[in-house]
């Protein structure tokens, strides 16, 4: 049972990686990050099933942190949109020499 759930979570996480690396617009990336966070929460709860309720407590913290991350991430997206007139992250490539 646990192994099955962990496998599902791993696949979900891999999909998140695929999304983060391929998506071009910032909101798409943010959605993929959400997928990965969700996979992590799934893992935590799967472990909580055999190891005790602390895993669930941890998952709660994780959810709250994800919310905070979304808030700041979206703020950055808005800023990007405002300064670059678009949300394609390749617009923000000032770091390139």
């Amino acid at each position: 049972m646990t192994q099955v759930v962990l496998t599902i979570a791993a696949v979900l996480f891999a999909l998140g990686i695929y999304g983060v690396t391929t998506r071009r617009n910032a909101i798409g990336i943010l959605l993929s990050v959400e997928l990965m966070a969700n996979a992590v929460n799934l893992n935590l709860i799967a472990f909580a099933q055999t190891l005790g309720s602390d895993g669930q407590t941890f998952a709660l913290f994780s959810i709250a942190l994800t919310v905070a991350e979304v808030v700041v991430g979206l703020a950055l997206v808005v800023l990007l949109y405002r300064t670059r007139k678009g949300i394609d992250i390749d617009l923000a490539s000032d770091l390139r020499s």
Partner: protein
Amino acid sequence: MTTAATLGLVAVLGPLVVALLLAVNGPVRRTGVGAGALSVLAAIANLVAALMLANSWWGEHELVDSTEWVWLIANGETIATVGVTIDGISASMLAVVAVVALCVQVFSWSYLSDEPKADFGRYYMWQSLFLFSMNALVLAPNLLQLFMAWELVGVCSYLLIGYWYTKPSAAKAAVKAFWMTKLADMGLMIGLIIQYRVTGGFGFHEADAVALGASVGVVTFCYFIAVMGKSAQFPLHIWLPDAMEGPTPVSALLHAATMVAAGVYLMVRGWPLFDLAEDTRLFMALIGGTTAIFAASVAIVQTDIKKVLAYSTSSQLGYMVAALGAGDMIAGYYHLTTHAFFKALLFLAAGSVIHAVHSNELSNMGGLAKKMPLTAGTFIIGTLALTGTPGFAGFFSKDLVLEALLHGAERNPVLWIPLACCLIAAGLTSYYMFKVVFLAFFGEPSEAAGHAHEGGIALSAPLVLLAVLSIGAGIPVMGALTSQWGHEAHFHVSPIGLAGTSAMLLGLGAAVQLHYRGGSLPGVAALAPVGNIARSEAVDKAWRVAYKQGLRTLAAGVSWFDRYVIDGLVNLSGVALLLGAGRLRAVQTGKGGDYVYAVLLGVIVLAAWTAVVSA
């Protein structure tokens, strides 16, 4: 804590508290009088503590108490401690310092009363700092604390010589004193490092001397180099006459009674070490004898009353060093204490004269005995003590020094040289001191001396006290020395004592003939070339050349090395970094996806690493 340690701490910390208070509290310092009052109060407390200590333990052979606190720790091992050590020597030295310091601080009150208030406060701040440093030096439980205090008194000396720092000559003299003593202090530092490497400590007791083994000679020689700088021994004495640019009370305290005696005190303190170092002591005796006669000869041709006294100080310190070199610690130390009193007295009396005539030159004085009878009387008492007139303090201590050299010469014939030097120097001392007395206090008054008058109570009280001590430190202390230290103290008429007294009388006779009667002596004209040599400041010139040629060349070499080798290496690494960074910046693509790949790669590498490690 024992009573002894508590009293010692009071003596050390009282002046420190005042100095720090005046240093951080500008408004109090700028009141001038308030700062002075605080400083004098600390000096009084210090005197009370010192007298209580000296009264109980001044003749004590054994260690009374040594209270120490851990200071430096490395690898769980204590490297050094700080604290206070009370025994016969430190207790008596503390009392000498305390008496002279209080006298000088009281004297300064009147002497510097015309100064601006802020400068007055600054002066007393440094006086307190000096008193703290000197007490810390005297009570040091090991040579490392002594070294720190040694440097601190050096700093105070620099600051006080340069008290009138707007005067170029004073600023120059301060720097010169600092340079010369620092140069010599390298010896103390190197000696301490060697001693620590060999014994693992900085102690100065018999056990430490034994632990040093064969290196005791090297270590004591290094220490003696520092002593030569601090105690103005030939050829490192050249800073002392220039140090007279400071206020006269400063000269009395630092450059006559206490700080310059710190060098001799270091040898007294570290006597167990020096006692074992036969070769170092022979060198000491020769240097001491040379200094005694050389400085006395130069003193003869000086026309500045303070410079006469400065060379005289150098000469008398030569006596002490010679006595220690001959192996008699008590003789050297006893001469140190008596000298502290009568030389401080002479300087303060000279200060009183300078205060009255506003000049250091002997030609601006004359006939002052009628105008300033108290100053003249005390100056003459000081002169009698310095020249070793029977009955005065200097007679007994100088006699002990000569005896010590005589005993030494019986064992080692080389010591006849310093003995002869000291005997001749005794005659010269007598001549130049009485010359000063006759020129300053008798004969026709100069224009400036015409309206001179005696200073107030603050000027005269210290003079009287020190005059009493210049007489009193003679017979009573001599008796006590015999009983307490079991030292062979002679009251009987000995050949060497007679020789010393005859030399003194000869000098007196010459002075009377030449400067009181205004007559002439056969052969004086023949001595003119010698006088010219003495005036020529040959040693100063030699040092100047050494400084210009040696030090500047060395500095130029170091500068070249720094500019082209050290800086070159730094520049090279900078250039290498710039080139490398130019290549590396291509890694930064600015594309979000690439960074995600990099993070992922990092995660996988870490996971693989963990797998490999746990497998």
